[in-house]
Subunit: 330 residues, 2 copies
């Protein structure tokens, strides 16, 4: 599969992404939006999810399109990021029209980063302001690693982070993934820092280290015993999908999480995947196109997870080493 031009989810035409973060808080917010609303769906597989406005994404519900999707740190407090995003969208006169008013549709999900060493002694929640700032920053380019919702993320052994990747299918359809990796499991398989996602790496997008020869993986005990984990993602395509088709894309994308993080989907992870479709490319062969879009979403998500960990930056006060601090040579 060919990578998109930026190797970011914003290679999907119709989407922009914005980050906002507070390094002292060790947390942040990432917003996926665009110039027009887009079809969305979600599939939740983890045992400890934290979400908002996910019920309206079911195929039978009234609203067909959303104005933004929000990934946030802050555990359940981070759901307030959607308030700030909604305020920003309201100021731009965006939202689902109900007579003369417009209601921005902003589903969101959070990850647990309350025990990562950050300054969590706030009195008034910082997440609405972070959400609004992330929306204001939205554009085709955005930072990966220690940024946005991945700012305070951790994994079983190394710092987590924000990752993204994209590909262009032979049909011309583009698929991308965005993920905040905050997993109980590990993204690396070997002592040398090789990634579980290595069979799917494009070029050297996460170091080009190849596949670890590790075998006979022991069943790890939960290592982040103090708190919960959670890997939250958005997969997207410029194809024209219905809500049920977008849901199938979200289901398929979870395979990428399983392949890139071991273990994943545990009782302590709130692992979930949103799917977004901007509708520029009508499907030529619905069965085959949807099959390929799902597989591409899984592959992009696996790659994005590895990139999120690979690109995390060491910061003062880190409780875990970054991948580059532990594994980069020279």
């Amino acid at each position: 599969m060919r990578r998109g031009a930026r190797n970011l989810i914003t290679d999907v035409a119709g989407l922009t992404v914005g980050n906002a973060q507070d390094l002292a808080l060790r947390s942040g917010v990432t917003v996926v939006t665009g110039p027009a609303p887009f079809v969305a769906a979600v599939h939740v597989m983890g045992g400890a999810p934290g979400t908002r406005e996910t019920d309206l994404l079911a195929p039978d519900r009234l609203v067909q399109e959303v104005d933004a999707l929000v990934l946030s740190g802050g555990s359940a407090f981070g759901l307030a990021a959607c308030d700030g995003v909604a305020a920003g969208l309201r100021a731009a006169r965006r939202g689902f029209a109900v007579g003369p008013v417009r209601v921005p549709i902003v589903p969101g999900a959070i990850l647990f980063d309350l025990l990562n060493g950050g300054a969590k002694d706030w009195d008034e929640t910082p997440y609405p302001a972070l959400g609004r700032a992330a929306l204001a920053a939205a554009g085709p380019d955005f930072a990966l690693g220690t940024a946005g919702a991945g700012t305070g993320a951790m994994t079983g052994d190394l710092k987590g982070g924000l990752g993204s990747a994209s590909c262009v299918l032979p049909s011309g359809i583009t698929v991308g993934a965005l993920v905040a990796v905050n997993a109980l499991g590990r993204a690396t398989a070997g002592e040398g820092g090789q990634f579980w996602a290595a069979p799917f790496e494009e070029g050297d997008e996460f170091g080009g280290l190849g596949i670890a020869a590790a075998q006979g993986q022991e069943a790890p005990l939960p290592m982040k015993r103090l708190g919960e984990a959670t890997t939250i993602a958005v997969v997207a395509t410029d194809a024209l999908l219905t809500k049920p088709q977008a849901h199938r894309m979200a289901v398929a994308a979870h395979d990428g999480m399983a392949r890139a993080l071991v273990p994943s989907h545990t009782p302590l992870d709130g692992d979930l995947v949103f799917a977004a479709a901007t509708g520029l490319h009508p499907l030529q062969d619905p069965v085959c196109d949807l099959f390929q879009i799902g597989h591409a979403a899984a592959t992009c998500l696996a790659r994005a997870i590895a990139r999120g960990v690979y690109l995390a930056q060491a910061q003062p006060g880190d409780l875990q080493p970054s991948w580059s601090a532990r594994h980069r040579k020279g």
Copy 2:
């Protein structure tokens, strides 16, 4: 993780398995049962499932335990296998008691094997008799490969088959998996027949070939274009689980399918996993034990998938090569 004594799902105390097959029909049935009913759950992720009595497995439904779980070939016709299993259980006076009568509880799932070259011109469905014969054959030992529900199974490139594997956790809890592998995707990653599940192989249970160096997997087109696929599995433990806990085990086990079959969970696969718990070991630490059981179930299922393909036997009229015909040396 240590393998169980048989490296079969029947290492889980309280479970027996029986196969019945018809080589001319190129189809068959596999039944999981035991001397007493057991807790069960299911999680469906594929886009084209075929099931029976799965609604009663939801946590809020009356019945807490089942008498048997059935995996069958035959597409929707194969759901009739449950009729034969129910008849056999009725003769043994087994089932959920309603006053003076007993109703056997027999959830089942099917795979699509109607276009595999077998003699499908039957007038009266052969599946009830195959179901009853599989129940009668149930015991601690059973055949793998071209047997039971895996008799007529295929994958993206090689013959599919029936697989199983087990492990014993440090807590003493045993976990096992049983699977009929009939996937649109492939279980092998490399030209040399190396399995996607290789990082999880115990000993040389599927050849000990190690990990393929394949990278940059192309998004395959659906290859079994004539029909649908479907990988159906049972994961089991001797732990004491509630129905919701068993459901979480089934969810976690899907990761093993994602790791062992690429792609999996496609719109054309009815991929699903039943979970069974025989209740001999109360959980000592519910969070940690359930975490480990889920990860073990994923790992056993990945290994069982590879074993099912590895052990398939060549038969006259095969439309695909078996793994051993293509890859075994000497």
